[in-house]
Symmetry: C2
């Protein structure tokens, strides 16, 4: 993979120019993407490459539900074939202001739903890369971009990161602006970052959010709560084993690890997630459903068909459940620095007909708390573990994730 920090060090050290770094990224797309299907389209070759700025020389993959003024934005759907927004999304404008080059649009499932995109897993083309941020996760894993943007409504950042073996963060809700990002559920949709390592994404997030403390946070002897999320069902044996390995590695590095079983209100919030999501999706995609229902892919069409019958009372109850769990979670975090839990049910499932299961991600998206995927080194398809911190404490989630990443690599 291409490290953002390494790339930046070479540029500031004078051994690489920003222009050459971007040119190399273009070459990697041409070379690697044909087997991957992660990149949909690339910025015009005349796109300016800033020589200065803290992200100068960084080529960024942009999930194709995020507006770009210089590239079509199709939301993974033929309904928007060739659609060209007038403006950049806020996050894209921010990347440009930092000197980065939003270089390409990456494959997304239609409207960031569950119908698979055409991308394959870079570790085994017979397996899904996960979704909905399929192209961004796969392209970073394949060493095309040092940084890519995704979004998560259920588990669309953490799951593909785990399946593809890359570091990723779904930050605190609204830490990154979603202006110009196609809405699925406004209470849940969260922009996230993929990179080669935890320090890479911490550096990028600190710059993009203009919050230097995100990169410098470092709890001395972090208290970690190991959580299996039993309410969500059980995980594969090797996913649980990876979680235990990560916990032991954290202990070796100085963390204090205790077990955590989340009480019933969290199960209730977890069950409420799809209702909150689907009532909002029914409204957010009302035009597409009313005018282009037949052009929607089957899983999303069925989901929206069923969503028409949901009522506002269920929605309100779901929001109350979420609110209660958020308050409880705040209390939980008064005793622990981070929760260590599963990123996914297991390794990327075989086949390209599904993007996998978000059951271990949904609760945290609904809670709005920062989540980091840390790849767990090993044989076969990748596995990851998820580090979760309190709302607004993205720096602590990243610091703990960095500690675990380092400890696992030293093991």
């Amino acid at each position: 993979m291409i490290s953002l920090l390494d790339t930046r060090a070479r540029i500031t050290g004078g051994t690489l120019s920003a222009v050459d770094a971007i040119r190399a990224a273009r070459a990697r797309i041409a070379e690697r993407d044909p087997a991957l299907g992660a990149v949909l389209r690339t910025a015009p070759t005349e796109t300016p490459v800033p020589e200065s700025g803290p992200l100068a020389g960084i080529a960024v993959g942009i999930k194709d539900i995020i507006d770009t003024a210089d590239m079509a934005t199709e939301f993974g759907s033929g309904i928007y074939a060739g659609w060209r927004p007038r403006a950049d999304a806020a996050i894209v404008a921010r990347l440009r202001a930092l000197g980065a080059v939003p270089l390409a649009k990456t494959a997304t499932t239609a409207f960031a739903g569950l119908d698979p995109a055409a991308t394959v897993n870079p570790h085994d083309a017979g397996h899904t890369p996960g979704g909905s941020s399929s192209g961004s996760a796969a392209a970073v894993a394949a060493g095309i971009f040092p940084l890519a943007l995704g979004t998560q409504t259920g588990g669309s950042v953490i799951r593909p990161a785990a399946f593809c073996g890359v570091a990723a963060i779904k930050p605190s809700f609204r830490l990154l602006p979603t202006v110009g990002v196609k809405t699925f559920s406004w209470a849940l949709d969260t922009l996230g970052l993929f990179g080669a390592s935890v320090p890479d994404i911490a550096h990028a997030l600190a710059l993009i959010a203009d919050r230097p403390e995100i990169e410098t946070a470092a709890p001395e002897r972090p208290r970690l709560a190991l959580c299996l999320q039993d309410f969500a069902g059980s995980a594969d044996d090797d996913a649980v084993a990876a979680l235990m390995r990560a916990a032991r590695a954290a202990e070796r590095a100085g963390a204090v690890v205790t077990d955590l079983t989340l009480p019933e209100p969290f199960a209730q919030a977890w069950r409420a997630h799809p209702t909150v999501q689907d009532v909002e999706a029914r409204q957010a995609l009302a035009w597409e459903y009313a005018v282009h229902r037949d052009a929607l892919p089957p899983i999303l069409r069925g989901q929206l068909d069923r969503a028409q019958a949901l009522n506002t009372a269920d929605y309100d109850a779901g929001r109350r459940d979420a609110h209660r769990a958020r308050r409880l979670l705040k209390e939980t975090f008064s005793d622990v620095d981070a929760i260590l839990t599963l990123s996914s049910v297991g390794r990327a499932p075989q086949g390209l007909g599904s993007t996998g299961d978000a059951r271990f991600n949904r609760l945290w998206t609904l809670m709005g708390v920062p989540c980091v995927n840390v790849p767990v080194p090993g044989d076969g398809l990748p596995l990851g573990v998820q580090v979760v911190a309190r709302f607004g404490d993205d720096g602590r989630a990243l610091a703990v994730a960095r500690m675990i990443e380092g400890a696992l690599l030293r093991a």
Copy 2:
């Protein structure tokens, strides 16, 4: 003015067809708008007119920061001249699903900021209609539409409603979906409705939000808290007199009115509003600022220039102030059904160089609570009073507003 409920009664009674109702609205635009400047463009004449649906026959004016698939959407700025969104905003799709016809786009200040639109006050062309929802308020006041959409980030629904003498509601935050509405500040932007009377907007809101209880709520002997918002400065004498008239009318109708002075944390939240707003506007309009700064109108350009210097610490402090005030406000509403306060500093100011002052609206927008403008009958340019209820209790705000509206008309 054209009453939505009357129009619907005639349609369901068989004395008016939906097609004729929409035809009449088109005729009113042609007849009255040349002197008003409220309507920017009208839906194609071949636009279908549903004959059924609970809002069939209702012509709706749509503020031009709200996406429409069949009409250009220019956000009040030449930067978007001729811009045609692909999809309807969620609220527009919802109106169509209810049988209404989004008939025209109405004038907005640029990006819903403070630079005036070309609309004049229908009661006196030498005075501002208020902003930023200038065209929607003025067109309802001039009897063009029975219903129009606006948005409020500071006071952009309640202020123009007060200046133009129409009923309006800024509902609870996120009660109406803002998907497809140009963002200024995601923590503040709220869709609102203008109509000829409180029962009209209550009926429309209940249908659009799919919450029948909004229309049927009716506290028996409501407890009202009369509040001058001293922290925001003082109002004109006739605005205070109108507020007192409304309070006395409410008492005659059975309400119990007590005085309320909001403690310091509310003043602090009020002062934080511009910081929260402008830090978000800087991000939401980052592309426009980076690429088209010179094409921005002067007030907005200056506002964004200054916003570049704001930092995230100020923003976080502002959000904390808002959070604290929201908790306190919840307590306040455990004793009272609604707060009765000023809608504006006074009558619409003379001249078209300013849209007036949002000082008595800002706090409530930041609190996310429902606000209703009730016109106070009298001589000269209109005055209104503002009824505020607890978050999520839009029905109660409307019920109290209806009571006051009725009592004032009987006085």
